[in-house]
Amino acid sequence: MPRFQWRPLFIVLGSVVLFGAIVRSVGVALSTVILIVAASAASREFRPRESLIAGVLLAALAVGVFVIGLQLQLPIWPGQQ
Protein backbone atom coordinates (compact mmCIF):
# COMPACT_ATOMS: atom_id res chain seq x y z
CA MET A 1 0.00 0.00 0.00
CA PRO A 2 1.21 3.53 -0.72
CA ARG A 3 2.01 5.80 2.20
CA PHE A 4 -0.51 8.49 2.90
CA GLN A 5 0.40 11.63 4.78
CA TRP A 6 -2.67 12.80 6.55
CA ARG A 7 -1.48 16.10 7.96
CA PRO A 8 -1.25 18.20 4.76
CA LEU A 9 -4.33 16.48 3.33
CA PHE A 10 -6.49 17.29 6.33
CA ILE A 11 -5.21 20.81 6.91
CA VAL A 12 -5.44 21.89 3.27
CA LEU A 13 -8.88 20.44 2.65
CA GLY A 14 -10.12 21.33 6.12
CA SER A 15 -9.26 24.96 5.56
CA VAL A 16 -11.08 24.86 2.20
CA VAL A 17 -14.20 23.43 3.83
CA LEU A 18 -13.93 26.06 6.57
CA PHE A 19 -13.81 28.76 3.89
CA GLY A 20 -16.93 27.34 2.27
CA ALA A 21 -18.72 27.30 5.61
CA ILE A 22 -18.00 30.88 6.64
CA VAL A 23 -17.69 32.85 3.38
CA ARG A 24 -21.38 33.63 3.10
CA SER A 25 -21.73 35.11 6.56
CA VAL A 26 -18.26 36.60 7.08
CA GLY A 27 -17.53 37.84 3.57
CA VAL A 28 -14.65 37.24 1.18
CA ALA A 29 -12.12 39.53 2.89
CA LEU A 30 -12.05 37.92 6.32
CA SER A 31 -12.60 34.37 5.16
CA THR A 32 -9.65 34.64 2.75
CA VAL A 33 -7.35 35.73 5.58
CA ILE A 34 -8.57 32.84 7.72
CA LEU A 35 -8.20 30.41 4.81
CA ILE A 36 -4.62 31.45 4.11
CA VAL A 37 -3.49 31.31 7.73
CA ALA A 38 -5.19 27.93 8.23
CA ALA A 39 -3.83 26.44 5.00
CA SER A 40 -0.30 27.67 5.74
CA ALA A 41 -0.25 25.41 8.78
CA ALA A 42 -0.03 22.46 6.39
CA SER A 43 3.57 23.35 5.59
CA ARG A 44 6.49 22.34 7.77
CA GLU A 45 7.71 25.92 7.57
CA PHE A 46 4.64 27.48 9.13
CA ARG A 47 5.22 30.94 10.60
CA PRO A 48 1.97 32.40 11.92
CA ARG A 49 2.88 36.08 11.68
CA GLU A 50 4.26 35.77 8.16
CA SER A 51 1.19 33.97 6.89
CA LEU A 52 -1.09 36.51 8.55
CA ILE A 53 0.63 39.29 6.60
CA ALA A 54 0.48 37.22 3.41
CA GLY A 55 -3.19 36.55 4.11
CA VAL A 56 -4.09 40.23 4.50
CA LEU A 57 -2.19 41.18 1.34
CA LEU A 58 -3.73 38.38 -0.70
CA ALA A 59 -7.21 39.08 0.59
CA ALA A 60 -6.87 42.71 -0.47
CA LEU A 61 -5.61 41.60 -3.87
CA ALA A 62 -8.41 39.05 -4.23
CA VAL A 63 -11.11 41.58 -3.37
CA GLY A 64 -9.49 44.02 -5.79
CA VAL A 65 -9.34 41.56 -8.67
CA PHE A 66 -12.53 39.56 -8.21
CA VAL A 67 -14.97 42.06 -6.76
CA ILE A 68 -13.76 45.41 -8.07
CA GLY A 69 -11.89 44.34 -11.22
CA LEU A 70 -14.18 41.59 -12.50
CA GLN A 71 -17.31 42.93 -10.78
CA LEU A 72 -18.36 39.56 -9.42
CA GLN A 73 -21.22 39.67 -6.96
CA LEU A 74 -19.55 38.58 -3.75
CA PRO A 75 -20.04 39.66 -0.16
CA ILE A 76 -16.87 41.43 1.02
CA TRP A 77 -17.62 42.18 4.66
CA PRO A 78 -19.67 40.37 7.35
CA GLY A 79 -23.41 40.76 7.20
CA GLN A 80 -23.74 41.63 3.53
CA GLN A 81 -25.75 38.55 2.71
Partner: protein, 499 residues
Protein backbone atom coordinates in the same frame (compact mmCIF):
# COMPACT_ATOMS: atom_id res chain seq x y z
CA UNK B 1 -5.24 32.23 -51.08
CA UNK B 2 -8.22 31.78 -48.86
CA UNK B 3 -6.02 30.93 -45.92
CA UNK B 4 -4.33 34.32 -45.97
CA UNK B 5 -7.56 36.25 -45.98
CA UNK B 6 -8.69 34.19 -43.00
CA UNK B 7 -5.43 34.89 -41.22
CA UNK B 8 -5.85 38.57 -42.01
CA UNK B 9 -9.21 38.49 -40.26
CA UNK B 10 -7.55 36.67 -37.38
CA UNK B 11 -4.76 39.20 -37.01
CA UNK B 12 -7.33 41.96 -37.17
CA UNK B 13 -8.91 40.46 -34.07
CA UNK B 14 -5.71 39.42 -32.31
CA UNK B 15 -4.03 42.80 -32.72
CA UNK B 16 -6.75 44.89 -31.11
CA UNK B 17 -5.38 46.47 -27.92
CA UNK B 18 -7.66 44.52 -25.60
CA UNK B 19 -6.77 41.15 -27.14
CA UNK B 20 -3.08 42.03 -27.20
CA UNK B 21 -3.42 42.75 -23.50
CA UNK B 22 -5.04 39.39 -22.75
CA UNK B 23 -2.48 37.56 -24.90
CA UNK B 24 0.21 39.28 -22.82
CA UNK B 25 -1.53 38.39 -19.56
CA UNK B 26 -1.77 34.76 -20.72
CA UNK B 27 1.87 34.67 -21.82
CA UNK B 28 3.05 36.26 -18.56
CA UNK B 29 0.99 33.94 -16.39
CA UNK B 30 2.00 30.94 -18.48
CA UNK B 31 5.69 31.76 -18.16
CA UNK B 32 5.29 32.36 -14.43
CA UNK B 33 3.59 29.07 -13.67
CA UNK B 34 5.92 27.37 -16.13
CA UNK B 35 8.92 28.63 -14.18
CA UNK B 36 7.41 27.74 -10.81
CA UNK B 37 7.50 24.03 -10.09
CA UNK B 38 4.44 22.65 -8.38
CA UNK B 39 1.77 24.44 -10.35
CA UNK B 40 0.82 23.40 -13.84
CA UNK B 41 -1.25 24.81 -16.69
CA UNK B 42 -4.30 22.64 -15.93
CA UNK B 43 -4.64 23.97 -12.40
CA UNK B 44 -3.96 27.53 -13.52
CA UNK B 45 -6.49 27.46 -16.35
CA UNK B 46 -9.06 25.93 -14.00
CA UNK B 47 -8.28 28.69 -11.49
CA UNK B 48 -8.81 31.41 -14.07
CA UNK B 49 -11.88 29.95 -15.76
CA UNK B 50 -14.28 31.66 -13.33
CA UNK B 51 -12.70 35.03 -14.10
CA UNK B 52 -13.41 34.64 -17.82
CA UNK B 53 -17.16 35.05 -17.33
CA UNK B 54 -16.67 38.78 -17.48
CA UNK B 55 -14.55 38.72 -20.65
CA UNK B 56 -15.35 38.61 -24.34
CA UNK B 57 -15.18 35.01 -25.63
CA UNK B 58 -12.17 35.71 -27.89
CA UNK B 59 -10.23 37.45 -25.15
CA UNK B 60 -10.97 34.63 -22.70
CA UNK B 61 -9.75 31.93 -25.07
CA UNK B 62 -6.70 33.94 -26.11
CA UNK B 63 -5.65 34.32 -22.48
CA UNK B 64 -6.24 30.68 -21.55
CA UNK B 65 -4.39 29.44 -24.65
CA UNK B 66 -1.47 31.73 -23.80
CA UNK B 67 -1.17 30.09 -20.40
CA UNK B 68 -0.75 26.65 -21.97
CA UNK B 69 1.93 27.45 -24.51
CA UNK B 70 3.51 30.06 -22.23
CA UNK B 71 4.07 27.31 -19.67
CA UNK B 72 6.11 25.41 -22.27
CA UNK B 73 8.52 28.33 -22.52
CA UNK B 74 8.76 28.89 -18.78
CA UNK B 75 9.21 25.23 -17.90
CA UNK B 76 12.54 25.00 -19.68
CA UNK B 77 14.07 27.83 -17.61
CA UNK B 78 13.63 25.95 -14.34
CA UNK B 79 14.71 22.69 -15.93
CA UNK B 80 17.96 24.20 -17.17
CA UNK B 81 18.85 26.33 -14.15
CA UNK B 82 17.53 24.27 -11.25
CA UNK B 83 17.51 20.72 -12.64
CA UNK B 84 13.87 20.51 -11.70
CA UNK B 85 11.04 20.44 -14.21
CA UNK B 86 9.00 23.63 -13.91
CA UNK B 87 6.46 21.80 -16.02
CA UNK B 88 5.91 18.09 -16.58
CA UNK B 89 6.70 18.60 -20.26
CA UNK B 90 10.20 19.83 -19.37
CA UNK B 91 11.24 16.72 -17.47
CA UNK B 92 13.58 15.58 -20.23
CA UNK B 93 15.05 19.05 -20.68
CA UNK B 94 16.61 18.67 -17.22
CA UNK B 95 18.81 15.81 -18.41
CA UNK B 96 20.98 17.79 -20.79
CA UNK B 97 19.94 21.35 -20.06
CA UNK B 98 21.19 21.27 -16.47
CA UNK B 99 24.44 19.66 -17.54
CA UNK B 100 24.96 22.46 -20.05
CA UNK B 101 24.28 25.00 -17.30
CA UNK B 102 26.83 23.37 -15.00
CA UNK B 103 29.42 23.77 -17.71
CA UNK B 104 28.68 27.46 -17.96
CA UNK B 105 26.53 27.14 -21.06
CA UNK B 106 23.26 28.06 -19.38
CA UNK B 107 22.79 30.99 -21.74
CA UNK B 108 23.19 28.85 -24.82
CA UNK B 109 20.77 26.26 -23.46
CA UNK B 110 18.14 28.88 -22.59
CA UNK B 111 18.47 30.58 -25.97
CA UNK B 112 18.21 27.27 -27.80
CA UNK B 113 15.10 26.35 -25.83
CA UNK B 114 13.41 29.70 -26.47
CA UNK B 115 14.34 29.95 -30.15
CA UNK B 116 13.44 26.31 -30.75
CA UNK B 117 10.10 26.84 -29.05
CA UNK B 118 9.45 29.92 -31.13
CA UNK B 119 10.26 28.17 -34.41
CA UNK B 120 8.07 25.22 -33.42
CA UNK B 121 5.27 27.53 -32.31
CA UNK B 122 5.30 29.38 -35.63
CA UNK B 123 5.22 26.18 -37.69
CA UNK B 124 2.53 24.62 -35.53
CA UNK B 125 0.34 27.74 -35.71
CA UNK B 126 0.53 27.64 -39.51
CA UNK B 127 -0.30 23.95 -39.41
CA UNK B 128 -3.35 24.57 -37.21
CA UNK B 129 -4.53 27.25 -39.64
CA UNK B 130 -3.97 25.09 -42.72
CA UNK B 131 -5.50 21.89 -41.37
CA UNK B 132 -8.53 23.40 -39.66
CA UNK B 133 -10.54 24.35 -42.74
CA UNK B 134 -10.51 20.98 -44.53
CA UNK B 135 -10.90 19.11 -41.24
CA UNK B 136 -13.96 21.01 -40.12
CA UNK B 137 -15.42 20.68 -43.63
CA UNK B 138 -15.00 16.93 -43.24
CA UNK B 139 -16.43 17.04 -39.73
CA UNK B 140 -19.57 18.76 -40.99
CA UNK B 141 -20.37 15.54 -42.86
CA UNK B 142 -20.27 13.65 -39.57
CA UNK B 143 -23.52 12.34 -38.20
CA UNK B 144 -24.10 11.19 -34.63
CA UNK B 145 -22.69 7.73 -35.41
CA UNK B 146 -19.40 9.18 -36.68
CA UNK B 147 -19.10 11.45 -33.65
CA UNK B 148 -19.70 8.58 -31.29
CA UNK B 149 -17.04 6.46 -32.98
CA UNK B 150 -14.62 9.36 -33.05
CA UNK B 151 -15.04 9.89 -29.31
CA UNK B 152 -14.53 6.19 -28.66
CA UNK B 153 -11.34 6.35 -30.72
CA UNK B 154 -10.28 9.43 -28.78
CA UNK B 155 -10.84 7.77 -25.42
CA UNK B 156 -9.06 4.58 -26.48
CA UNK B 157 -6.19 6.72 -27.75
CA UNK B 158 -5.95 8.40 -24.37
CA UNK B 159 -5.78 4.98 -22.72
CA UNK B 160 -3.08 3.73 -25.07
CA UNK B 161 -0.92 6.79 -24.59
CA UNK B 162 -1.39 7.02 -20.82
CA UNK B 163 1.44 5.98 -18.53
CA UNK B 164 1.37 2.82 -16.54
CA UNK B 165 -1.31 0.20 -16.30
CA UNK B 166 -3.86 -0.09 -19.11
CA UNK B 167 -6.52 -1.41 -16.78
CA UNK B 168 -6.11 1.60 -14.50
CA UNK B 169 -6.35 4.01 -17.43
CA UNK B 170 -9.55 2.35 -18.65
CA UNK B 171 -10.94 2.45 -15.12
CA UNK B 172 -10.16 6.17 -14.96
CA UNK B 173 -11.95 6.82 -18.26
CA UNK B 174 -15.04 4.96 -17.11
CA UNK B 175 -15.04 6.76 -13.78
CA UNK B 176 -14.83 10.04 -15.70
CA UNK B 177 -17.67 9.05 -18.04
CA UNK B 178 -19.86 8.18 -15.07
CA UNK B 179 -19.09 11.45 -13.29
CA UNK B 180 -19.88 13.26 -16.52
CA UNK B 181 -23.45 12.02 -16.64
CA UNK B 182 -24.29 13.06 -13.09
CA UNK B 183 -27.32 15.34 -13.14
CA UNK B 184 -30.59 15.66 -14.95
CA UNK B 185 -30.93 13.56 -18.09
CA UNK B 186 -31.69 15.91 -20.99
CA UNK B 187 -34.04 13.51 -22.73
CA UNK B 188 -36.16 12.15 -19.93
CA UNK B 189 -35.64 14.73 -17.18
CA UNK B 190 -34.72 12.01 -14.71
CA UNK B 191 -32.09 12.97 -12.15
CA UNK B 192 -29.17 10.55 -12.21
CA UNK B 193 -26.56 9.83 -9.52
CA UNK B 194 -27.53 12.94 -7.59
CA UNK B 195 -28.18 11.23 -4.22
CA UNK B 196 -31.10 13.61 -3.79
CA UNK B 197 -28.76 16.60 -3.54
CA UNK B 198 -30.37 19.48 -5.44
CA UNK B 199 -26.98 21.07 -6.29
CA UNK B 200 -26.05 17.98 -8.29
CA UNK B 201 -29.08 18.15 -10.57
CA UNK B 202 -27.17 20.43 -12.95
CA UNK B 203 -24.21 18.09 -12.98
CA UNK B 204 -20.72 18.74 -11.63
CA UNK B 205 -18.78 21.69 -13.05
CA UNK B 206 -15.59 20.97 -14.95
CA UNK B 207 -13.79 23.74 -13.04
CA UNK B 208 -14.60 22.15 -9.71
CA UNK B 209 -13.34 18.75 -10.81
CA UNK B 210 -10.21 20.08 -12.51
CA UNK B 211 -9.19 22.25 -9.55
CA UNK B 212 -9.64 19.41 -7.11
CA UNK B 213 -7.97 16.75 -9.23
CA UNK B 214 -5.07 18.80 -10.52
CA UNK B 215 -4.74 21.80 -8.23
CA UNK B 216 -5.33 20.51 -4.72
CA UNK B 217 -3.87 17.06 -5.04
CA UNK B 218 -0.74 18.64 -6.57
CA UNK B 219 -0.43 20.99 -3.59
CA UNK B 220 -0.87 18.23 -1.04
CA UNK B 221 1.69 16.04 -2.79
CA UNK B 222 4.16 18.92 -2.96
CA UNK B 223 3.75 19.52 0.77
CA UNK B 224 4.78 15.95 1.46
CA UNK B 225 8.21 16.41 -0.02
CA UNK B 226 10.62 18.90 1.47
CA UNK B 227 11.57 21.96 -0.52
CA UNK B 228 15.02 21.94 -2.00
CA UNK B 229 16.15 24.11 -4.83
CA UNK B 230 19.65 24.61 -6.05
CA UNK B 231 19.83 27.54 -8.36
CA UNK B 232 22.75 27.99 -10.67
CA UNK B 233 23.52 31.58 -9.89
CA UNK B 234 26.40 32.21 -12.27
CA UNK B 235 25.82 35.28 -14.35
CA UNK B 236 24.22 34.46 -17.64
CA UNK B 237 26.97 35.53 -19.95
CA UNK B 238 27.19 34.44 -23.57
CA UNK B 239 23.52 34.05 -24.39
CA UNK B 240 24.13 32.78 -27.89
CA UNK B 241 25.01 29.26 -28.89
CA UNK B 242 28.25 28.80 -30.84
CA UNK B 243 28.18 28.03 -34.55
CA UNK B 244 28.93 24.38 -33.93
CA UNK B 245 26.12 24.15 -31.37
CA UNK B 246 23.75 25.87 -33.75
CA UNK B 247 24.55 23.32 -36.45
CA UNK B 248 23.65 20.50 -34.06
CA UNK B 249 20.56 22.19 -32.67
CA UNK B 250 18.88 23.36 -35.88
CA UNK B 251 18.08 19.91 -37.34
CA UNK B 252 17.03 18.71 -33.87
CA UNK B 253 14.56 21.59 -33.66
CA UNK B 254 13.16 20.59 -37.05
CA UNK B 255 12.72 16.97 -36.00
CA UNK B 256 11.23 17.99 -32.66
CA UNK B 257 8.77 20.32 -34.38
CA UNK B 258 7.63 17.63 -36.80
CA UNK B 259 7.27 14.97 -34.12
CA UNK B 260 5.55 17.31 -31.67
CA UNK B 261 3.10 18.54 -34.30
CA UNK B 262 1.97 14.99 -35.02
CA UNK B 263 1.84 13.82 -31.39
CA UNK B 264 -0.03 16.91 -30.27
CA UNK B 265 -3.02 16.02 -32.40
CA UNK B 266 -3.33 12.52 -30.99
CA UNK B 267 -5.81 11.98 -28.18
CA UNK B 268 -3.94 11.78 -24.90
CA UNK B 269 -1.07 13.59 -26.57
CA UNK B 270 0.03 17.15 -26.16
CA UNK B 271 3.13 18.78 -24.79
CA UNK B 272 4.40 16.13 -22.40
CA UNK B 273 4.26 13.12 -24.69
CA UNK B 274 5.86 15.15 -27.48
CA UNK B 275 8.88 16.13 -25.43
CA UNK B 276 9.54 12.57 -24.22
CA UNK B 277 9.24 11.16 -27.73
CA UNK B 278 11.50 13.85 -29.20
CA UNK B 279 14.22 13.17 -26.65
CA UNK B 280 14.28 9.44 -27.26
CA UNK B 281 14.28 10.01 -31.03
CA UNK B 282 17.32 12.28 -30.75
CA UNK B 283 19.12 9.74 -28.60
CA UNK B 284 18.37 6.95 -31.03
CA UNK B 285 19.55 8.70 -34.18
CA UNK B 286 22.59 10.44 -32.65
CA UNK B 287 26.01 9.33 -33.91
CA UNK B 288 27.27 9.24 -30.35
CA UNK B 289 24.37 8.56 -27.96
CA UNK B 290 26.70 8.62 -24.95
CA UNK B 291 26.82 12.43 -25.15
CA UNK B 292 23.21 12.55 -23.98
CA UNK B 293 22.81 13.27 -20.31
CA UNK B 294 26.12 15.09 -20.37
CA UNK B 295 25.03 18.33 -21.97
CA UNK B 296 24.07 17.49 -25.56
CA UNK B 297 22.40 20.53 -27.08
CA UNK B 298 20.06 18.37 -29.19
CA UNK B 299 18.65 17.05 -25.92
CA UNK B 300 17.46 20.57 -25.13
CA UNK B 301 16.52 21.73 -28.61
CA UNK B 302 14.35 18.82 -29.73
CA UNK B 303 12.12 18.31 -26.68
CA UNK B 304 11.60 22.04 -26.18
CA UNK B 305 10.56 22.47 -29.81
CA UNK B 306 8.39 19.38 -29.57
CA UNK B 307 6.50 20.40 -26.45
CA UNK B 308 5.58 23.77 -27.86
CA UNK B 309 4.55 22.28 -31.21
CA UNK B 310 2.49 19.65 -29.40
CA UNK B 311 0.85 22.21 -27.15
CA UNK B 312 -0.24 24.15 -30.20
CA UNK B 313 -1.41 21.35 -32.48
CA UNK B 314 -3.48 19.84 -29.67
CA UNK B 315 -5.86 22.70 -30.42
CA UNK B 316 -6.70 21.10 -33.78
CA UNK B 317 -9.14 18.41 -32.60
CA UNK B 318 -10.62 20.79 -30.04
CA UNK B 319 -11.24 23.59 -32.52
CA UNK B 320 -12.39 21.54 -35.50
CA UNK B 321 -14.20 18.62 -33.90
CA UNK B 322 -15.03 19.90 -30.45
CA UNK B 323 -13.21 16.94 -28.92
CA UNK B 324 -10.53 17.48 -26.25
CA UNK B 325 -7.27 15.57 -26.63
CA UNK B 326 -5.87 16.43 -23.18
CA UNK B 327 -7.01 17.96 -19.89
CA UNK B 328 -6.09 21.50 -20.98
CA UNK B 329 -8.29 21.17 -24.05
CA UNK B 330 -11.06 19.76 -21.87
CA UNK B 331 -10.93 23.02 -19.91
CA UNK B 332 -10.85 25.09 -23.10
CA UNK B 333 -14.08 23.36 -24.11
CA UNK B 334 -15.43 24.20 -20.68
CA UNK B 335 -14.47 27.83 -21.26
CA UNK B 336 -16.28 27.90 -24.62
CA UNK B 337 -19.42 26.40 -23.12
CA UNK B 338 -19.32 29.00 -20.31
CA UNK B 339 -19.34 31.63 -23.06
CA UNK B 340 -22.31 29.97 -24.75
CA UNK B 341 -20.34 28.60 -27.69
CA UNK B 342 -20.92 24.98 -28.65
CA UNK B 343 -17.50 23.64 -29.66
CA UNK B 344 -17.44 21.76 -32.93
CA UNK B 345 -16.98 22.15 -36.69
CA UNK B 346 -19.55 24.95 -36.81
CA UNK B 347 -17.38 27.35 -34.83
CA UNK B 348 -15.14 28.04 -37.83
CA UNK B 349 -18.05 29.19 -40.02
CA UNK B 350 -20.31 30.72 -37.40
CA UNK B 351 -17.65 32.53 -35.42
CA UNK B 352 -14.77 33.10 -37.84
CA UNK B 353 -13.42 36.05 -35.87
CA UNK B 354 -13.18 33.90 -32.74
CA UNK B 355 -11.59 31.01 -34.56
CA UNK B 356 -9.01 32.89 -36.62
CA UNK B 357 -8.46 35.42 -33.86
CA UNK B 358 -7.43 32.64 -31.50
CA UNK B 359 -5.08 31.11 -34.08
CA UNK B 360 -3.49 34.45 -34.96
CA UNK B 361 -3.07 35.22 -31.26
CA UNK B 362 -1.04 32.04 -30.85
CA UNK B 363 1.62 33.45 -33.11
CA UNK B 364 1.41 36.87 -31.48
CA UNK B 365 1.73 35.16 -28.12
CA UNK B 366 4.82 33.27 -29.28
CA UNK B 367 6.49 36.53 -30.31
CA UNK B 368 5.70 37.98 -26.88
CA UNK B 369 7.07 34.88 -25.19
CA UNK B 370 10.32 35.10 -27.10
CA UNK B 371 10.76 38.66 -25.84
CA UNK B 372 9.63 37.74 -22.33
CA UNK B 373 11.97 34.79 -22.09
CA UNK B 374 15.19 35.88 -23.72
CA UNK B 375 16.04 39.37 -22.48
CA UNK B 376 13.98 39.14 -19.30
CA UNK B 377 15.12 35.77 -18.11
CA UNK B 378 16.68 37.23 -14.96
CA UNK B 379 13.32 38.43 -13.73
CA UNK B 380 11.76 34.97 -14.02
CA UNK B 381 14.66 33.38 -12.21
CA UNK B 382 13.97 35.71 -9.28
CA UNK B 383 10.51 34.21 -8.94
CA UNK B 384 12.15 30.92 -8.13
CA UNK B 385 13.28 32.40 -4.84
CA UNK B 386 9.65 32.64 -3.69
CA UNK B 387 9.35 29.69 -1.32
CA UNK B 388 6.53 27.22 -1.84
CA UNK B 389 5.15 27.68 1.68
CA UNK B 390 4.30 31.27 0.76
CA UNK B 391 2.95 30.34 -2.65
CA UNK B 392 0.56 27.48 -1.99
CA UNK B 393 -1.91 29.19 0.38
CA UNK B 394 -2.39 31.84 -2.30
CA UNK B 395 -3.17 29.22 -4.92
CA UNK B 396 -5.71 27.64 -2.59
CA UNK B 397 -7.31 31.02 -1.90
CA UNK B 398 -7.69 31.87 -5.60
CA UNK B 399 -9.25 28.44 -6.26
CA UNK B 400 -11.73 28.86 -3.41
CA UNK B 401 -12.80 32.40 -4.27
CA UNK B 402 -13.02 31.54 -7.97
CA UNK B 403 -15.19 28.51 -7.45
CA UNK B 404 -17.39 30.27 -4.94
CA UNK B 405 -17.89 33.25 -7.24
CA UNK B 406 -19.27 31.10 -10.06
CA UNK B 407 -22.42 30.06 -8.26
CA UNK B 408 -22.28 31.84 -4.90
CA UNK B 409 -22.77 28.42 -3.45
CA UNK B 410 -20.51 26.82 -0.84
CA UNK B 411 -21.49 23.39 -2.14
CA UNK B 412 -19.09 23.82 -5.07
CA UNK B 413 -16.26 24.58 -2.64
CA UNK B 414 -16.97 21.35 -0.75
CA UNK B 415 -17.15 19.39 -3.99
CA UNK B 416 -13.79 20.79 -4.98
CA UNK B 417 -12.31 19.66 -1.66
CA UNK B 418 -13.83 16.23 -2.25
CA UNK B 419 -12.14 15.96 -5.64
CA UNK B 420 -8.93 17.06 -3.97
CA UNK B 421 -9.10 13.90 -1.85
CA UNK B 422 -10.01 11.84 -4.92
CA UNK B 423 -7.08 13.23 -6.89
CA UNK B 424 -4.65 12.62 -4.04
CA UNK B 425 -5.75 9.04 -3.53
CA UNK B 426 -5.64 8.37 -7.29
CA UNK B 427 -2.08 9.63 -7.62
CA UNK B 428 -1.07 7.51 -4.61
CA UNK B 429 -2.60 4.49 -6.34
CA UNK B 430 -0.69 5.27 -9.58
CA UNK B 431 -3.89 6.14 -11.43
CA UNK B 432 -3.50 9.07 -13.78
CA UNK B 433 -6.21 11.70 -13.43
CA UNK B 434 -5.79 12.91 -17.05
CA UNK B 435 -7.90 10.19 -18.73
CA UNK B 436 -10.54 10.74 -16.06
CA UNK B 437 -11.06 14.40 -16.89
CA UNK B 438 -11.23 13.54 -20.60
CA UNK B 439 -13.92 10.97 -19.86
CA UNK B 440 -15.68 13.50 -17.65
CA UNK B 441 -15.90 16.14 -20.39
CA UNK B 442 -16.72 13.68 -23.16
CA UNK B 443 -19.23 11.67 -21.09
CA UNK B 444 -22.35 13.73 -21.79
CA UNK B 445 -21.51 14.26 -25.47
CA UNK B 446 -20.76 10.58 -25.95
CA UNK B 447 -24.08 9.59 -24.48
CA UNK B 448 -25.96 12.19 -26.50
CA UNK B 449 -24.44 11.03 -29.82
CA UNK B 450 -24.96 7.38 -28.95
CA UNK B 451 -28.63 8.03 -28.31
CA UNK B 452 -29.11 10.08 -31.45
CA UNK B 453 -27.37 7.49 -33.60
CA UNK B 454 -29.49 4.72 -32.13
CA UNK B 455 -32.64 6.78 -32.62
CA UNK B 456 -31.83 7.34 -36.29
CA UNK B 457 -31.09 3.66 -36.83
CA UNK B 458 -34.22 2.63 -34.93
CA UNK B 459 -32.22 0.87 -32.27
CA UNK B 460 -29.87 -1.05 -34.53
CA UNK B 461 -26.34 -0.94 -33.06
CA UNK B 462 -24.87 -2.14 -36.37
CA UNK B 463 -25.21 1.43 -37.66
CA UNK B 464 -21.76 2.18 -36.24
CA UNK B 465 -20.25 -0.35 -38.62
CA UNK B 466 -22.50 0.32 -41.60
CA UNK B 467 -21.45 3.92 -42.05
CA UNK B 468 -17.97 3.86 -43.59
CA UNK B 469 -16.27 6.69 -41.65
CA UNK B 470 -17.67 5.43 -38.37
CA UNK B 471 -16.59 1.87 -39.17
CA UNK B 472 -13.02 2.98 -39.96
CA UNK B 473 -12.80 4.97 -36.72
CA UNK B 474 -14.05 2.06 -34.63
CA UNK B 475 -11.70 -0.39 -36.36
CA UNK B 476 -8.81 1.98 -35.63
CA UNK B 477 -9.88 2.08 -31.98
CA UNK B 478 -10.04 -1.72 -31.76
CA UNK B 479 -6.71 -2.05 -33.58
CA UNK B 480 -5.04 0.39 -31.16
CA UNK B 481 -6.35 -1.54 -28.19
CA UNK B 482 -5.35 -4.95 -29.59
CA UNK B 483 -1.93 -3.60 -30.50
CA UNK B 484 -1.03 -2.57 -26.96
CA UNK B 485 -2.31 -5.86 -25.60
CA UNK B 486 0.21 -7.81 -27.70
CA UNK B 487 2.94 -8.70 -25.16
CA UNK B 488 5.95 -7.51 -27.20
CA UNK B 489 4.34 -4.17 -27.96
CA UNK B 490 3.24 -3.61 -24.38
CA UNK B 491 6.79 -4.24 -23.22
CA UNK B 492 8.03 -1.60 -25.66
CA UNK B 493 5.37 0.79 -24.39
CA UNK B 494 6.57 0.36 -20.83
CA UNK B 495 10.15 0.99 -21.90
CA UNK B 496 9.17 4.09 -23.81
CA UNK B 497 7.48 5.61 -20.78
CA UNK B 498 10.26 4.72 -18.38
CA UNK B 499 12.76 6.75 -20.34
Amino acid sequence: MELFSHLAVGFGVALTPINLLYALVGALLGTLIGVLPGIGPVATIAMLLPTTYALQPVSALIMLAGIYYGAQYGGSTTAILVNMPGESSSVVTCLDGYQMARRGQAGAALATAALGSFFAGTCATLLVAAVSLPLSALALKFGPAEYFSLMVLGLIGAVVLAHGSLVKAIAMIILGLLLGIVGTDVNSGVARFDFGIPELSDGIGVVVVAMGLFGFSEIILNLESTEKRELITTKLRGMWPTKAQFKLAAPAVLRGTALGSVLGVLPGGGAMLSSFAAYSLEKRIAKDPSRFGKGAIEGVAAPEAANNAGAQTSFIPMLTLGIPSNPVMALMIGAMIIQGIQPGPNVITEKPELFWGLIASMWVGNVMLLVLNLPMIGMWVKFLTVPYHVLFPGIIAVCCIGVYSVSNNAFDVYTMAFFGVVGYVLVKLDCEPAPMILGFVIGKMLEEYLRRAMLLSRGDPLVFFQRPISAVLLILAIAALVLVLIPSVSKKREEAFRE
